[in-house]
């Protein structure tokens, strides 16, 4: 029954021939995709290895997505599909596939071409064809781009090329790093030999706001990663927890300049800033709502840290957490309804999910370790966070329901992750 429902649902969308939005929520099955072994045509060992890595990366992306559910190897082996140009879609449908992806990697001198074709198994129609061409060192990027095309086709936010910024002390002191969402290509960005902390990624993927102790007290900087330049945003007192507005024109942050931490808004074009909160407590971790109208933040104005939501001009703050005595480090999901945060119980931190519409609270992690600084993926289906469950602090990702936990880092302490945001409304 479930399969039939999915097929009807899926094919009706295809026939409609328009941009569609499938909201995959808990309980809704993902799109069953058959990915038979790629055709690989190479004439050097390096090219062969690169081509195989493209295939592996593409498969891993789709398996990770929670949008697609790739068919198992056993099911794939049941179909003896010999002609890659005209796939036997009837056979693929009979083993449960909704769509079939045929991949081909060819070597052209020093470069590789990755071609993918997507078919609807039920209607037997060709859906989509894409081709990427580039140097072998961009093999993973080609695979991620292909995955992104599939996500975009099904109306989803492309997350496979998104990146995660984080802090690592692997080379001695805490510096700023970035990596691919799957933990690959870890690159160090700062060489201050001071201490960097609490980075936040912009929506256009070109800026990272972060705090640096390079001049003694914690000042706020924006790193333009493709120019390698830093811009000083705020100094004097301590300046931490930045967050870019959905249009990347404004930056929220907290500053202790007035005596205790208060929330400020900084205009990136004019350089002007305005104070938004006036409380006796520490107001920290401001986060824009996905529509840019509200601000989520934490404050200990009531005596202990709790979460609040206020208008973007700082007016009408209202408290939203009432369980637990220490709730902090929030992040707002792109759907605008879910908030993930850290709650302290008996000196340990675990991650909790709050649904604003129903006030339901779900505990996502358990155990005696510290789980900190959670941040949603651009599509809200995954969560990145840091935890010292294996001894040192490492960065982990898991799905919105706590499943599919994966460790992304291993050298030194790695913490304070920020997953690049993508504003798909633009």
């Amino acid at each position: 029954m479930r399969k039939i429902f999915l097929l009807v649902f899926f094919t009706s969308q295809i026939l409609a021939q328009q941009e569609i939005t499938i909201r995959i929520k808990g309980g809704v099955p993902a799109i069953r995709i058959a990915i038979p072994p790629f055709q690989i045509r190479t004439y050097t060992p390096e090219a062969k290895a690169a081509a195989e890595e493209i295939e592996e990366t593409f498969r891993a992306d789709l398996a990770f997505s929670r949008v697609f559910s790739p068919l198992s190897r056993d099911l794939l082996s049941l179909v003896k599909d010999t002609n890659p140009e005209r796939p036997d879609l009837k056979a693929w449908e009979s083993v449960g596939a909704s769509v079939v992806f045929l991949g081909k990697v060819e070597q052209r001198g020093e470069q590789l071409r990755f071609t993918g074709k997507l078919y609807d198994a039920r209607t037997r129609e060709f859906i989509l064809g894409k081709s990427f061409y580039g140097k072998m060192k961009f093999r993973r990027l080609m695979a991620h781009r292909m995955g992104d095309e599939l996500l975009k086709y099904f109306g989803q936010i492309p997350i496979f090329t998104s990146k995660i910024a984080f802090i690592s002390d692997r080379d001695g002191n805490r510096e700023l790093y970035i990596m691919d969402y799957d933990g690959m290509n870890q690159v160090r960005l700062t060489y201050t030999r001071g201490m960097e902390m609490l980075p936040a990624w912009s929506h256009n993927g070109e800026m990272i706001a972060y705090t640096s102790f390079r001049r003694g007290n914690p000042s706020l900087y924006i790193r333009y990663i493709y120019q390698g330049k830093d811009m000083l945003v705020a100094e004097g007192g301590s300046n931490i927890t930045p967050d870019f507005s959905p249009d990347d024109k404004f930056l929220l942050y907290s500053s202790s300049l007035p005596g205790n931490y208060e929330i400020y808004i900084y205009d990136l074009r004019t350089g002007q800033r305005r104070r938004l909160t006036y409380s006796y407590g520490s107001d920290l971790s401001p986060k824009w709502s996905p529509d840019g109208e509200k601000i989520l933040f934490s404050s200990d104005r009531s005596g202990s840290p709790q979460l609040y939501i206020m208008d973007k001009n700082g007016k009408n703050p209202r408290r939203i957490t009432f369980q637990g005595s220490y709730n902090a480090s929030p992040d707002w999901a792109p759907d605008g309804d879910r908030i993930i945060y850290v709650s302290r119980i008996m000196g340990r931190f675990n991650l909790y999910l709050l649904y604003l519409s129903t006030s339901q609270v779900i505990k996502l992690t358990s155990g005696m370790a510290m789980n900190e600084n959670p941040c949603f993926s651009p599509d809200g289906r995954h969560i990145v966070f840091s935890s010292n469950r294996s001894g040192k602090y490492q960065i982990y990702i898991m799905d919105y329901d706590g499943k599919n936990l994966r460790q992304l880092t291993s050298r030194g302490n790695n913490l304070m992750p920020s997953w690049q945001k993508i504003n798909y409304r633009r």
Binding site: M197, G216, S254, L284, D300, S329, R344, M370
Partner: protein, 180 residues
């Protein structure tokens, strides 16, 4: 009464004996005294060398060396608190005395926390601790422009373990001499 006088007499006798012993001890060491007398003739200058040596050494030492000597002692705090504990006040009073004796010295007060707070709230708590220490030193007469503060939150623990003992060590304010 008789008993008391007896005790007094016995006491005086014992004291005089002790006095004799001391004199005897002093007499054991004459070789050094003689040597000193030969090199530097005046004996009156002798009692004050210690403080003079300390002051001179600070001028000669680099900041790193001064900080390694630990003239200013760190203090500790209670969990989630930033008020100065009564048992820690004598340490701050000593530190203030040292600062008064060295009026050109400037210091950085670092606020630190145990791991049981988020990075953000620990930065805030560490700053409150550093400010509480600064205010206490100011109340003891230290000029505010000799004091800078910074909070490192939980990023620089003294003890990396995860137990009460380690946490108690890590909740602290450190003093770093940044100018002499």
């Amino acid at each position: 009464m008789k008993k008391l006088t007896l005790i007094l007499v016995a006491g005086i006798f014992l004291l005089s004996l002790a006095g004799c012993k001391k004199k005897e001890k002093v007499k054991v060491i004459p070789p050094t005294e003689k040597k000193v007398a030969r090199t530097g003739e005046e004996v009156k200058e002798k009692p004050i060398p210690k403080p003079v040596v300390q002051e001179e050494s600070i001028e000669d030492m680099s900041l790193e060396e001064i900080n390694r000597k630990g003239y200013l002692q760190r203090i500790h705090f209670d969990f989630d608190k930033y008020n100065i504990r009564e048992d820690q006040k004598p340490i701050l009073i000593k530190n203030a005395q040292w600062l008064k004796a060295h009026p050109t010295v400037k210091i950085l007060i670092e606020g630190h926390c145990d791991e049981r707070g988020t990075e953000e709230y620990n930065l805030a708590l560490g700053e409150k601790r550093a400010k509480a220490v600064r205010d206490f030193l100011i109340s003891l007469g230290i000029s505010p422009d000799r004091i800078k503060i910074v909070s490192y939150g939980k990023s620089r623990p003294l003890d990396p373990r995860h137990n009460e003992e380690a946490w108690a060590k890590n909740r602290r304010a450190e003093f770093v001499i940044i100018a002499k």
